[in-house]
Symmetry: C2
């Protein structure tokens, strides 16, 4: 089913390479998918990686190369000649993968490689694709598609499709265009198979087709494809002319990256990192939030310093409780809003949402406060002290919930990514607000 | 492009329904995708929803129904007769959607509806599908697919495909099976179009095909499809016989749900909720973690109570700083591990990973501690006090990082979902550990 990469397997691969036993290497990897072979190469050092890569035929090699980790790919491509890239690799890649590969080359190599591509049509396609920003529909699309003219008959279509299919591995949809190449609709395989060959396409194609503009952001393309359950979506220019198509597998990475980024931001990681990045990179991604937390912590110290703790020493014991609960509630509230915004399911007005959050937090706060009150009492704290702590807790929970709801909604209104609002930032802000309330209530009830 | 739902639009729809102006209602929604019409119906009350639903023809109605929110769908289906469901709805749905719909019916209605389905083949398919657990490949798959026998010629294939395609909207792949219905490979449309009609399928099909077993969990299916860039994957039984196929749009929900759940768990939300769930449900999902936080807070109070704060009152001011920083670092560390585990990119041994985390946290801790030390000094704290705080911070950061790495890795080893480890639980545990260290160091350096 799915290949499990083991350390033993990598070691045996290294041995075959050291021994120059290419036959055995090919045999052992014959049943592996290019993705799996790429996983193996990712684990090898530069020399072994290149040696293993060279074992495969051009078609396999191209499929393996595009699946490699970006750094491994870069190292490997650096060791290939311009000609090898232009004639062996590019020729075996879909236009989107070819454009990505050339897009990642050092600036000076790009045009050198492009000029060496023999198939002029292909070179033109790649240059076209390189013009679109990477994270737009244009940057994600491939040029390979099957299209037919609405004036043709079914017979002509089949003939033309046969010609076009020569260059295409998988056909997910047949697009119907007019003489100006404007997208009109799609032709289902079903219709094509079940209609007489003389029927004009005009009469049988499906005129409604969901398309995206080339300038649409990748995240929006992902949203449209998810919403309308599309496995492939055609890309058009501002005049509605068919430029290419985006398939779902190209968009999954966009969805994954977005989810990972939200999760990381919520966890206080400011750059996109992976667990096997370098220590320095990991540190750099994590330090900014820690510094914000540090400054927040010092400010909180100043706030507590405004009050005379000596008078009610026991209050100090519950500082972490108040701070943590405020933080927890704030993170919960903002997480729900951030997700609702990401799923575009927010169509309640802000006030309805805050009222609802008020209800939830009053309920949660009430339960927690009552438990805490009796708990403290049982543990022998003075009723006044117990009351101070639990009343503060109630107020802190409610305020943290409202704050956690309000901040991401406001950020979103100003077009700032609300995912930034969760995590350490909201925790720190809640610490300050919460402890100020705690000590103010303490002063009022307990005196001092 | 993508339809934007406005309050004005919903109000005008309600007006058309009140006036019984069905013609205008149909006109206004003629260009909308069923998904968008479902979005509109989701916003209406029960009576308006039913009235609007009834406006559309059977085919449209079926497509709209499966896109409705589960509760709205349930209310609506409750008002339809068994016959309406069996003959009008089911007949216009793919087998996977039909099975989902019937699976959601109250137990007593299920068999009533199934016995009323006229097409016996279809009824059998649905009963088959209902046998698979909902979140497995079997539960996600649809029965509609095009398959050909490896002994056939291209001509026979086209004839057979024509027959099979009658019932199928979109053909993404043509599967090749043997006489026992065992999956052998796929036949590309390209080959079909470009090969002479007398060629046997045997000679032109692609024998390598990634498939999944019916019992495979939905998350694993999602993983395989993402890894191998598949928009559709065939499902087989234990003997390798072709049962159905899963398309990517069915799996996107699985991916989204998984990401959402991890994010919610990390934010201390224990049940899967959406922002428009009821207040009670939202409260119930959030209370468990808050209670854990509450107990943790009380325990932290006991730990601080072990020390005599009176001796070094200033230490109380920095309790929130130490607690928050420990929490932040712990959450960062565990988030990186949780993601690495989710992406199956963990193949470093535990010790390598902990060593790396040690490096990152020492760097982060050192930078933060030095800044804090000089900051406190400048603000007029005694050097001993400044030293106590910053040394504690360094130790707390390092321990929190190791703890945040170790806990999810250990949970994963015991097959417990590591996403549970992040969020409030790790924060609370770090509070206890961190403040104990802080006061112990304080006692050693400052005395008391």
């Amino acid at each position: 089913m799915s290949f499990e990469l083991t350390k033993e397997f990598i070691r045996s691969v290294e041995n075959y390479i050291n021994e120059g036993n290419w036959k055995k290497l090919l045999e052992e990897t014959a049943n592996l998918h290019p993705v799996d072979i790429a996983d193996v190469i990712n684990e090898l050092d530069e020399d072994h990686a290149l040696a293993m890569y060279k074992v495969y035929n051009q078609e396999q090699a191209a499929e393996i190369l595009i699946e490699l980790d970006p750094e491994v790919q870069e190292d490997l491509v650096a060791k290939l000649s311009n000609e090898e890239i232009a004639s062996e690799l590019i020729d075996n890649l879909d236009s989107d993968d070819a454009a990505d590969l050339i897009g990642n080359l050092p600036e000076e190599r790009k045009s050198e490689v492009i000029t060496q591509i023999e198939d002029l049509e292909q070179a033109k396609q790649i240059v076209d694709l390189l013009n679109y920003p990477e994270d737009t529909a244009g940057g994600l699309m491939a040029k390979e598609l099957v299209k037919v003219n609405h004036n043709w008959s079914v017979m002509q279509c089949v003939r033309e499709m046969r010609r076009q299919a020569e260059d295409i591995d998988e056909v997910h949809a047949v697009y119907v265009v007019d003489d100006e190449n404007r997208l009109l609709g799609t032709l289902s395989l079903k219709k094509l198979l079940t209609t007489s060959t003389r029927t004009p396409v005009k009469e049988i194609f499906k005129p409604k087709v969901q398309s995206v503009k080339a300038s649409l952001e990748g995240e929006e393309v992902a949203y449209v494809m998810q919403k309308y359950d599309l496995v492939v979506v055609p890309v058009v220019d501002d005049l509605g002319r068919l430029l290419g198509r985006v398939t779902f597998d190209d968009i999954v990475d966009v969805i994954k990256e977005e989810a990972d980024r939200d999760y990381q931001l919520a966890s206080g990681i400011s750059e996109s990192v992976e667990s096997d990045d370098s220590i320095l990179r990991l540190t750099r991604a994590r330090l900014p939030w820690l510094l914000i937390g540090l400054v927040g912590g010092v400010l909180v110290a100043q706030i507590i310093g405004l009050f005379d703790i000596r008078e009610n020493l026991e209050m100090a014991l519950f500082i972490p409780l108040i701070a943590a609960m405020g933080g927890n509630v704030g993170v919960q509230s903002s997480a729900i809003i951030v997700q609702a915004l990401a799923n575009k399911s927010v169509n309640m007005p802000v006030w309805t949402r805050l009222t609802k959050e008020l209800g939830v937090s009053l309920l949660n706060g009430f339960v927690c406060s009552v438990i805490l009150f009796f708990g403290c009492w049982v543990m022998g704290y003075h009723p006044d002290m117990s009351f101070t702590i639990s009343l503060s807790l109630l107020i802190v929970i409610v305020l943290a919930a409202l704050f956690g709801t309000f901040v991401p909604l406001t950020l979103d209104r100003f077009n700032i990514d609300p995912a930034v609002a969760t995590g350490p930032f909201i925790t720190t802000a809640n610490d300050m607000l919460g402890l100020f309330i705690y000590f103010t209530i303490g002063k009022m009830i307990l005196g001092g």
